[in-house]
Symmetry: C2
Subunit: 247 residues, 2 copies
């Protein structure tokens, strides 16, 4: 990450500036609640137009790093709000962020005709086949969740056991191999109790409370990509989210 703007690279200037500013925030050079240089000052400092400055600041405000006060200035958000931005993350990313080591036991990888509710959520025609992946998810080596994914892939697109075992993260495979970039998701959370089978796999007593997450993942083009159901051990998992009020 440079400390000046390079006008000859393909990277947009507003993006370069945003990176520079974010770095100063993350490294603590600019303390929480203190003002950053004004837009006119930044204009001189980096020889960029105010239009571009504002575009950079806009994105950081959007991401919660900065906040503006009309007539006063632009300020660094207090730590609390900098991290844990409401992000769509994969299981692996999620766990790594919490400082735990993600792992998995792949139970099956098959082509199946999914249940109708799954078909509906994936906006597929009845009888369509999808790729189903069953995995036990591990945190620091111990089971933490049971995950069942249904993937709506294009014809010819296929995920192999090797892909899964080498990368671990489904999102990475989608991105690298198929150029599908997860963008948004709808998720519901509720409470259930473990069936004997689930209890066995998760190494908990039958009837223990579980956190059930159901998520439909959408690509950048807003096509449903994946329906995934995860049963988390209630005693070992906490769901975190950051909410923003509209307007």
């Amino acid at each position: 990450m440079s400390i000046t703007i390079d006008p000859y690279t393909a990277v947009p200037k507003y993006y370069q500036l945003a990176s520079i500013l974010r770095q100063k925030i993350e490294e603590g050079e600019w303390q929480p609640r203190s003002p950053i240089p004004s837009e006119r000052q930044l204009e001189v400092m980096y020889h960029i137009s105010r239009t571009t400055i504002r575009e950079a600041i806009d994105s950081l405000v959007q991401q919660g790093f900065l906040y503006r006060e009309h007539g006063r200035g632009t300020f660094v958000s207090p730590r609390k709000l900098q991290k844990g931005w409401m992000e769509l993350t994969s299981f692996s990313e999620d766990l790594l962020k919490r400082g735990m080591q993600p792992g998995q036991i792949i139970r099956s990888l098959t082509q199946v005709i999914p249940p109708v509710n799954v078909l509906k959520r994936l906006e597929l025609a009845p009888g369509s086949t999808v790729c189903r992946i069953e995995r036990i998810r591990l945190a620091d080596g111990t089971p933490i969740g049971l995950q069942t994914s249904y993937l709506a892939l294009g014809t010819g697109q296929e995920i192999t056991l090797e892909d899964l075992e080498s990368s671990g993260s489904l999102y990475r495979i989608l991105s690298d191999k198929f150029n599908i970039h997860p963008s948004e998701a709808d998720e519901t959370l509720e409470v259930t109790l473990a069936t004997p089978q689930e209890a066995e796999l998760l190494d908990i007593p039958p009837g223990a409370p579980l956190l059930l997450s159901e998520r439909v993942l959408f690509s950048q083009e807003r096509h449903p990509i994946e329906y995934v159901k995860i049963l988390y051990r209630g005693d070992r998992y906490q769901y975190y989210t950051h909410l923003k009020r509209r307007e």
Copy 2:
């Protein structure tokens, strides 16, 4: 909602335009996945500069109503993604959106010195007093959750029983009476089991699974306002979010 831009009002043009476009989307005039007029066309249609057009479209893209494709156009997001935007909502708002009637039984409203972990989350000095509200939350008349709020109000700011009973929504009181506008929140969700007291209040058997939500609410100025803990009946409540991937 007008259908033309009024240059003489205090409402910014980009905001007026965004409202017009959003209306056309919500009323179905523009169908999902179909392109909206190009930015150059809108420039002519509404006699607004492209800068302003893009600002309006930006906000709608941000809110998930539209999506852009470089070189192709700007399109209406499919229905699925238009609604249920990841919003910070109050309990009442939340329930109303699900088509249920919110209600409450106020169990207590007192000034207390909260537990240390609450003080910490509210960034208050040890020994500070806050307003505590205990409520049983109802959906269509039946108990659905136990809510305990700790409010960090300014000196002289006070919430009365009448306020609560007449409005029902704490967010509305904060907004109307104190000019405090909830903006963001950190929330965690986990699973617990009902204690005998909790079970009694929620009309469920002791040991029944509950969804425990803990939320810290922040004002526009990023000051912590409220720490609230809600125990939801596991059999009657489902949590919903919409996630977006960063970048």
